[in-house]
């Protein structure tokens, strides 16, 4: 069995149009889910009456049900409902908005748990010290607690992001044409699905690696206070970097 390389080149050329679509879905989902995830995490950590149950319910429902079932509701049932209210304009909505909704809902659920775990790694004394220099709890949270929590949150946000990047291909069910969708459509004429998937894989490798580097740099930035004083040896590329810094852990 040999690979049809001409076809792979052709798929590579067309599928690149799907890259912005994939990135859009992921970015929109992350940007919206980030603050809401933090808020929900705080609601759970501080056991805010009433809301805490609601958040727990939301997380278990969204996280616990297959995305395909959610798509069914958002993409199929919701526009039909809208049709009854605003008429046929409901059908003119670009399906990518439905994709935004579905993936944002999912990202919120995941990030809520990510932040919940990360925020609890920060020592209580940090909040107290902030209060005692006169800062509001809110100010202390943004300036002191969150930056420290991010160190432990970032690897998990990276996990969530990579998961989103890959899962955004499910948006094709809603006729949104991301990388996978375009490649599959190309392959439909000659059944060269194997080649199409290989091209898709390369694209995902590139995108995911770029995302990893971004997250790695962020993690390094936020954990700089844990390292002993040392001249940095320039840019350190994870994962192919040879020398990683030994992290000094916080004292407590």
């Amino acid at each position: 069995m040999s690979l049809n390389t001409d076809f792979m080149v052709k798929v590579a050329q067309t599928a690149i149009q799907g890259v912005p679509v994939t990135l859009q879905i992921v970015l929109v989902a992350l940007v919206i889910a980030f603050p809401i995830g933090i808020l929900f995490a705080l609601i759970r950590i501080y056991r805010v009456k009433g809301l805490q149950r609601l958040v727990q319910f939301y997380v278990s429902l969204v996280r616990g049900t297959p995305i395909i079932a959610q798509i069914l509701i958002v993409y199929s049932a919701f526009p039909s409902l809208l049709n009854m209210i605003i008429g046929r304009a409901a059908f003119a909505i670009n399906p990518i908005y439905y994709a935004y909704i579905v993936f944002t809902l999912n990202a919120i659920a995941t990030l809520t748990e990510v932040f919940r775990s990360a925020l609890q790694t920060v020592d209580k004394g940090q909040m107290e010290a902030g209060l005692m220099v006169g800062m509001q709890p809110r100010q202390t949270f943004w300036r002191i607690i969150l930056p420290q929590a991010l160190i432990s949150a970032l690897p998990n946000i990276a996990n969530t992001t990579l998961y989103l990047i890959k899962n955004s291909s499910l948006a094709f069910i809603m006729s949104v044409k991301d990388i996978t969708a375009i490649a599959k459509t190309e392959a439909a004429f000659n059944y060269n699905f194997l080649e199409a998937y290989l091209v898709v894989w390369v694209y995902y490798l590139i995108i995911c690696y770029a995302a990893e580097v971004v997250f790695y740099l962020l993690e390094r930035y936020f954990s700089k206070y844990r390292r002993p004083i040392k001249k940095t040896s320039g840019f350190n590329w994870l994962p192919f970097g040879i020398k990683q810094p030994k992290l000094e852990r916080k004292q407590s």
Binding site: R63, S117, Y204
Partner: protein
């Protein structure tokens, strides 16, 4: 009313397939966690070679969509075995391939979860362990891991639930778990009763995920007294 009857009927058809879902998920969670632990250890180790290997593995696996992973395992592994060991594993139960693919997929994010949890534990804990004469491994196992475990738990639950829902992957090579069964029920009804079927499916998954959440909360609650977090 009619719908509820249908959903109950579909529940009855789906539930037998929970066996496959559980066998596949539980084995890949166990195997994947062990592999993830090794990977996290490698990434934190002193050896440059181990660190680079582990991070390349994690990068590649995390970037690989499930459907590609299953094809790589299902088609690639038999070829490898044929060429290198001259054994034919083509005839293996297809479930093995699914478990292997899921194990690999699961191990990468889990290694990151473990790494970040490990690094959130104060260094002094390890030092104190060493200074009462425990070996690094004993300290890791008895002191660090229990503390890191609580930190990792919510993220671990995220990954486990994601894994449970990877039914599309098992079905790609024809292993019928609950998701696959749901698709087949819909197909055999000529595409009808789809939302009732998926509703039944979502219900089952929801119950499982509720159970997992409950477990997580329970463990966290029992641990709350032992740490000073920003929580009240």
């Amino acid at each position: 009313m009619e719908n509820i009857k249908l959903i109950i009927n579909f529940l009855g058809q789906l539930l037998p397939a929970i066996n496959i879902t559980l066998i596949v998920s539980v084995s890949s969670i166990i195997l994947g966690s062990l592999l993830g632990l090794l990977l996290a250890a490698a990434r934190l180790s002193e050896s440059v070679v181990l660190r680079v290997l582990a991070s390349v593995y994690v990068s590649v696996v995390r970037a690989t969509p499930a459907i590609i992973m299953i094809f790589v395992v299902y088609y690639g592994m038999p070829m490898l075995f044929n060429d290198w060991f001259h054994t034919n594993i083509d005839g293996w139960n297809r479930m093995y391939f699914v478990i292997i693919a899921l194990t690999v997929l699961f191990s990468a994010p889990v290694s990151e979860i473990m790494r970040s949890a490990y690094e959130s534990i104060a260094k002094g804990q390890m030092e104190a362990g060493l200074m009462v004469g425990m070996t690094p491994f004993q300290t890791l196992y008895r002191i660090i891991l229990p503390q890191a475990f609580v930190v990792a738990l919510p993220n671990f639950a995220n990954s486990v639930i994601n894994l449970l829902k990877e039914g599309a992957l098992t079905f790609t090579i024809g292993v019928v778990d609950m998701v696959a069964k749901a698709q087949m029920i819909v197909a055999n009804n000529s595409g009808g009763y789809a939302w009732q079927t998926y509703c039944a499916l979502a219900l089952i998954y929801w119950v499982i995920s509720l159970a997992i959440d409950k477990g997580v909360s329970q463990v966290e609650k029992s641990y709350q007294a032992k740490r000073k977090t920003i929580a009240v």
